[in-house]
Amino acid sequence: MTRTVVRASGLTKRYGSFTAVEAVDFTVEENRIYGLLGRNGAGKTTIMQLLTGQIFPTAGELEVFGRPPAEHADVLRRMCFIAESQRYPDAYKPLHLLRAAPWYFENWDEEFARRLVDDFRIPLNRYVRKLSRGQLSAVGVTIGLASRAPITFFDEPYLGLDAVARHVFYDRLLADYAEHPRTIVLSTHLIDEVANLLEHIILIDQGRLLLDRDAEEVRGSATTVAGTRATVESFTADRPVIGREHLGGQASVTIDGRLDLAERLRAKELGLELSPVSLQQLIVHLTGTDLHAGSAGEEAAA
């Protein structure tokens, strides 16, 4: 069966009085694609920095491949981290970066790297300082994919990448992952674009873990019920509400949990409209202000 490659418990990172990550527990299983999701400033990058041993936790336990990652060379050489707005030395050309990469990544695939360079149209002979933001991102994605590291972290890897280049990334990632299974942790705010690539979702909000679930369980786990206010309220009365909007006599309430066929028919008989909630919409509900207003949260807990 699968092996646990990351184990975090009570993982906490404070900077002075600011808590970036607070008592987070999760595990990462081998050879799966994870989505580390959350709003800007939620703590995603801090978690990635902790996992890749770039910073030390303030409290809690963290093991990657069975050991704390910081200062353990045998753990670090098995990972590849492509940071958001990844920087490279200005005096380098992509050519040099690709030549240096195999020194750090023992599974480096030169031929795959060349193909990605062609796919992304990376100018190999241009100085890094002359590259556009999108071209720099393409270099990062190329290194991340061709490294074939046992665990690869992509932190918002595609700043400046156009839609075509992003889809090249998704296609190459899926195809290569199918042939060379490995653990991938992808952080992004383009949730709808990557939703189908992910096997598991870890949702962070304000430094805390909000959701840690199989992507397939999350899909279709919430429904928006719309119709006349009284009918909607009575239909959703005993269910966990995660979002609520009113307009005059009309209401639109988002509930957590699936509706079976009998319930869907009953909703139709009552004249209610049911609509699916995409992963992105669900996350907006879970991390948005409507939940933090208080009342909806209490109802969800009830």
Binding site: L174, N196, R219, K268, P276
Partner: protein, 119 residues
């Protein structure tokens, strides 16, 4: 892909549709999980879950080292199952909408017949 339901169910249903429509015949090999994953741009584990569901239902069978093949009698069983769900999935919503609009059952039958002649 439809947002409201798990993708693995939709993968299973699409293969089922191909079997019902005769695109995939009995004893014919179905696409591999990697092919399904690449085509639909989904995680291979999700595609595998869809295929495993078909295996559990006896719709496809694994031939070790070769791949997945449509099981004998799969089409007949799928049609039987879809027929059993037909009333709840399609007729009930239709009747509810018809009642809302004041269309009685005879008028509805007439509309169905007229629609059938047109198509």
């Amino acid at each position: 892909m439809d947002e409201s339901r798990p993708i693995f169910l939709q993968i299973a249903e699409q293969v089922e549709n191909d079997i019902i429509e005769g695109v995939l015949r009995e004893d014919e090999q179905i696409p591999s999980t990697n092919e399904l994953a690449a085509f639909h741009r989904i995680n291979p584990a999700t595609a595998l879950k869809g295929v495993n569901r078909l295996v559990d239902d006896g719709i496809v069978a694994k031939r070790r080292g070769i791949g997945m093949f449509v099981a004998p009698g799969a089409r007949a069983r799928l049609i039987e199952r879809r027929r059993a769900d037909f009333a709840a999935e399609y007729l009930r919503p239709l009747i509810i909408e018809a009642e809302k609009l004041g269309i009685d059952i005879d008028e509805l039958a007439g509309l169905l017949r007229a629609e059938r002649i047109q198509s």
